[in-house]
């Protein structure tokens, strides 16, 4: 189920800026990695490369030994990578239910486009409503995303990600804009429903969430990996603190 | 054979310069608004009929007819801008396009109402004898068309590069958001760009009508089609491309018309247009960001 990931010497640039510079990251099956670093350090670019949204300048990405280079985003999604977006990417004219259902479409045979038997429909409905229920969204199933709160939108993105049942999940700041109590809640949801049986990379600024979910952390700064190791050790690293808080001691 | 080709090229360049003007009008509006005004041709048609009316009513001379054509086109364009563009705000390129289509219906019906017949006379430039340059002929109205178009394009070039209004038009086409924070009055510049486009289109319409000597309300559809096609052949959002697109379209049409007749001309033109789009999606002027510019329309 869970996938092994190997990122080797990954580089890319946008305009004049080197967004990623020879980054190596290895993930064994079922491992959860926290990815931290200041804004603009290349974390989201790494996700964009992993999902095939951008092409790398150099380097390779292997998912269970399979090279993802040159694959289209849709193929990569079918290999079992799913992600959330920091700036929330929801389909604003579709209902909450349809947003989650969208993720189920990928591998459907052509016949399903024109006909779903009532039983299949019921089964799909039940499983998706269950999923929405986990995230406290079943009441809102027929609303549009615009009618949700920010926290509910973030939950919806994670629900959508789960609907695709991926092997590797990429979470881009799942707790951005949340209060400490809300962060606590989403941390628990992720720990119980998302992570079991999956590999994961989590981008997050909130140490509360990172420390609870990720036994291991990698730190990016200006496109380079500057640290990688057990969470406590990395956070104590002076280079990491400098990249976050500047050279002056706080 | 070779002589025919040369002759056709000359004729095609003349007509093509008018197409180029139409395409430039489209491009100006599209560049500034990121929206398509398909009522552009019909607005010009209103101008042409205003000129024809002046001609038939008081047998007015060339210059009053010309001014009436421009005035009609500008007024109709102002109307289109207010109803279909200024009134529809935000991310609604499709709504503006559909709305400009509705206004097209209105304009056409209004003109048909005032001019119930099918064709009307328009004063022609065919008063001077044909010029002969060696073996090729130069129709004087074609020469006038070409020279007027060239002069207008130089004037436009001057406006866009040398005046502050032109600079603001270019900033708006380049990066609307940065233009806003730089203090450009977007609504005002957009409105005046519409009027500028109407003047350019009005001149093109006048030249074409004065060459043909007769007009029908169908000239609105015709102008929209030719302008759109020339704009797309040249590559969206580039004025130079629009001009090149117009000239290419004119020459291709003239050659095909001569060798294949009217039906053949249509088939050849549209086949070439289709192939050009599929093989050269960024147009003859080859702008890499043409795709980004059209994203506005891709997003519903």
């Amino acid at each position: 189920m869970a996938a092994a990931v190997e990122i080797q010497g990954l580089s890319c640039r946008f305009g004049g800026v080197k967004a990623l510079d020879a980054v190596d990251i290895r993930l064994s099956p079922g491992e959860v990695l926290g990815l931290i670093g200041p804004n603009g350090s290349g974390k989201t670019s790494l996700f964009n490369l992993l999902t095939g949204h951008h092409n790398p300048e150099a380097g390779a990405i292997l998912l269970d030994g399979l090279d993802l280079a040159g694959q289209s985003p849709s193929q990569i999604a079918r290999f079992g990578i799913a992600r959330t977006f920091q700036n929330l990417r929801l389909l604003r004219r579709l209902s909450v239910y349809e947003n989650v259902r969208a993720a189920r479409h990928a591998c459907a045979p052509l016949r399903d486009a024109f006909w779903l038997s009532p039983a299949a429909r019921r089964q799909e409905r039940d499983s998706l409503m269950n999923l929405l229920d986990i995230f406290g969204l079943s009441e809102k199933a027929q609303k549009t995303p615009a009618e949700l709160t920010l926290v509910q939108m973030r939950h919806l993105e994670i629900a959508r990600l789960l609907a695709a049942d991926p092997k590797l999940v990429l979470l881009d700041e799942p707790a951005a804009g949340m209060t400490s109590a809300e962060t606590q809640a989403i941390t628990e949801v992720i720990a119980t429903h998302v992570l079991p049986g999956r590999s994961a990379i989590v981008i997050e600024h909130k140490m509360q969430l990172v420390a609870a979910l990720c036994p291991r952390i990698a730190v990016l700064n200006a496109g380079r990996k500057i640290a990688d190791g057990p969470t406590g050790q990395v956070l104590a690293d002076s280079a990491v603190r400098q990249s976050y808080f500047g050279a002056k001691p706080c | 054979m070779l002589l025919d080709i040369v002759q056709n090229t000359l004729d095609g360049l003349a007509i093509g310069s008018a197409y180029g003007l139409l395409a430039i009008g489209f491009t100006l509006i599209f560049g500034v608004m990121r929206r398509l005004n398909i009522a552009f041709g019909p607005s010009i048609m209103v101008g042409i009929f205003a000129g024809a009316w002046l001609h038939s009513q008081w047998s007015a001379g060339m210059i009053p007819v010309f001014l009436a054509t421009l005035a009609g086109a500008v007024l109709a364009s102002a109307y289109v801008e207010r109803i279909s563009f200024a009134a529809i705000r935000g991310d609604a390129a499709l709504a503006s396009m559909a709305s400009s289509f509705a206004i097209w219906m209105q304009l056409e019906e209004a003109v048909v109402h005032v001019f119930p017949g099918r064709t009307y006379a328009f004063p022609t430039l065919q008063t001077i004898p044909m010029l002969e340059i060696g073996p090729v002929f130069l129709r004087p109205e074609y020469l006038a068309m070409f020279l007027t178009a060239a002069a207008l394009i130089l004037l436009l070039q001057w406006i866009l590069t040398r005046t502050r209004f032109g600079l603001e038009v270019r900033t708006l086409a380049d990066n609307p958001e940065a233009a806003r924070v730089s203090g450009v009055n977007v609504a005002q510049v957009a409105f005046l760009t519409f009027l500028l486009a109407a003047v350019i289109g009005g001149v093109a319409g006048f030249l074409i009508a004065a060459t043909d000597g007769q007009i029908t309300p169908k000239i609105g559809l015709w102008a929209t089609m030719k302008g759109l096609i020339a704009m797309v052949i040249g590559g969206l959002g580039s004025l130079r491309g629009a001009l090149i697109g117009g000239l290419v379209l004119g020459v291709v049409e003239a050659q095909a018309q001569w060798f294949l007749g009217a039906a053949g001309r249509e088939i050849v033109t549209y086949t070439l247009l289709f192939l050009a789009l599929v093989m050269l999606p960024s147009g003859l002027a080859g702008r890499a960001d043409a795709g980004a510019r059209t994203e506005a329309l891709r997003r519903l």
Partner: protein, 296 residues
């Protein structure tokens, strides 16, 4: 029903096919100015099949539909990669190409002692199936209604299945659709195939009602009209484009008091609707509200 009502209703039905065809593409984010091409292909193919080859009506119409769908898919194959405006103009170019080809397309055979078949710009006369089979205008209206019901039924099935949602996702956010594993290009080609088939069905039915078709009938104007129907009626459901047709043809006929000003009134109404509701009368929000109300 009097003859006038029947002919108005038949027209509404026939234009609905075109409007739905353009709407299907709008849903998946493509603006097509050229659905009239498939209407023409359906009309000519269906007419040739029944009038020249003497095929049965259903088979002839079916032939038109298949031809329209196949050509729709083939044209989509190179064009769906184009960006919005370029796609729109490419469809326009293709439609005008088809029309100008029909202008020189002659294919006449002797049937029952008469020369039958399309004759270039002179058009295609005597598509007489309805007359020969003794179908009254009312009966033919029934056939049109049945065809429309079939199309609406197909789209309803797609809405129950996954098809409609796939189209909408691709239209809303093609990048997200790709990242969720949808093959965006393939879905767009499928949509174009479907749209081609629907327009061709309308065309085939139209040819047998009118008994006479000519290339000039399939100009840009109906293409742009059919696009506008969806935008006026609303993009939320398949009833949006039909509503658009109703407003246009229904209103055009009912506003007879305005006599020759009716286009001016209609144009003004449409512009007003679009200022107030940029996504048409039956937009997604309204549709969802109506659904919720129905469920209650």
């Amino acid at each position: 029903m009097d003859a006038f009502t029947i002919s108005v209703l038949s027209n509404i039905g026939l234009f609905s096919f075109l409007a739905i065809s353009a709407w299907v593409l709008l849903i998946c984010g493509e603006i097509s100015f050229g659905q009239q091409a498939y209407f023409a292909i359906g009309a000519y193919a269906g007419g040739i099949a029944t009038a020249v080859w003497q095929w049965p009506f259903a088979l002839g119409v079916g032939f038109g539909v298949v031809l329209g769908a196949v050509i729709g898919g083939l044209v989509a194959w190179p064009t769906t990669r184009l960006s919005g405006m370029h796609y729109a103009i490419a469809t326009l170019a293709f439609a005008e190409f088809v029309r100008s080809c029909l202008n020189v397309f002659s294919y006449q055979r002797e049937v029952d002692g008469y020369l039958t078949g399309p004759d270039g710009a002179n058009g295609f006369r005597d598509i007489r199936w309805a007359y020969e089979a003794g179908v009254e205008p009312l009966g033919y209206l029934g056939i049109i209604a049945a065809g429309l019901a079939a199309v609406i039924g197909l789209i309803a099935c797609m809405a129950r299945g996954r098809g409609m949602a796939q189209l909408r996702i691709v239209g809303e956010d093609p990048i997200l659709a790709g990242m969720q594993g949808l093959n965006v290009n393939r879905i767009r080609i499928a949509a174009a195939t479907l749209a081609g088939g629907i327009a061709a069905l309308g065309g085939a039915l139209y040819a047998h009602l009118a008994t006479y078709v000519e290339p000039a009938q399939f100009g840009v104007m109906i293409g742009v009209h059919s696009l506008a129907y969806g935008l006026i009626g609303g993009l939320g459901t398949v009833f949006g484009p039909i509503l658009g047709v109703l407003v246009d043809i229904g209103l055009l006929e009912s506003l007879r008091v305005f006599s020759s000003y009716r286009m001016i009134v209609f144009g003004g109404l449409v512009a007003l609707v679009l200022i107030l509701r940029p996504r048409g009368i039956l937009d997604e929000k309204t549709v969802r509200r109506i659904q919720a109300w129905l469920r209650r």
